[in-house]
Symmetry: C2
Subunit: 139 residues, 2 copies
DNA sequence: AATCGATATATGTTATATACATATATTATG
DNA sequence: CATAATATATGTATATAACATATATCGATT
């Protein structure tokens, strides 16, 4: 018979889960990559950001605009107002040469992080397999 | 001639780099996996943690002990004092059934995060390739 | 023409894991 | 016996994620 352990819908699980603390949402590289693909404005980036799947909670509008502002002030992106079209005026952002280098650095480090996760998961799998072989129940 | 852009050793790069903000150091799942492999104590976990490669700055002793204390108070690990050996008394921690389930959840979510990074990196690669084909210089 | 939702940008506030520092005590070493 | 290593523990600062709120325009509905 399967052992049942009180676990879900509990505050303590949430506290120690993946989602605890501040998540790395990869907002900066996501914005930079989207701008590498096509110059865009805050609202559009906000809509596209979930495509990467880094979060399930959706982007935070405040975070997008603040990040764009900050990236611009340090020269990683540049912007111009789009007043031509109808609708509210849009601030169209583009990635700069400096921004492309920053994105490249991010890609390198994200790849390293990915490799670390792979190492972890393989080690976990191996450990579970070893435990199963010694007859110990996993849970 | 290769264009040189002022970039490194600058404060603004650091501010927007991968290491900006609080990194996900995967301390909780790392501790849980190490304890799944073998019951251990804080100091030993501190030494083993870098094996995963999640950081290059090394673990923070404070974080290890605080995390262990917190995991224990919620029943994910349990501990007993080891007074048998020589040396300073060690608090030997083991993973509980509840802790094993928590670790399993972490593994699932880390795998999803890994997949998102892979998607991102492939999209970045594709974008660079497309830019190269249109003759635009990447940097 | 007034209400409502979507579009679009922007600022204010709080919670918290990380990051660094410090404190304590024991054992090993030179 | 002073110093380093082992071992556990607490104090504090900080960046940013997460949530909330504010402003204004435009399009659709009533």
């Amino acid at each position: 018979m399967k052992q049942k352990i009180a676990m879900n819908s509990n505050k303590d699980v949430e506290k120690h889960s993946f989602k605890c603390g501040r998540q790395k949402r990869f907002l900066i590289p996501s914005i930079l990559l989207l701008l590498l693909e096509k110059p865009s404005h805050g609202y559009e980036l906000m809509e596209k950001y979930p495509e990467f799947g880094f979060t399930d909670t959706g982007p935070d509008a405040g975070a997008i605009y603040r990040t764009l502002k900050s990236l611009k002030s340090d020269g990683f992106v540049e912007s111009k107002w789009n007043t031509g079209n109808t609708g509210a005026a849009k601030k169209i952002y583009s990635i700069t040469g400096k921004g492309k280098i920053l994105l490249k650095n991010w890609a390198k480090e994200m790849n390293e992080k990915k490799n670390s996760i792979v190492v972890f998961l393989e080690r976990y799998k191996k450990s579970n397999k070893a435990l199963a072989e010694t007859g110990k129940k996993l849970f």
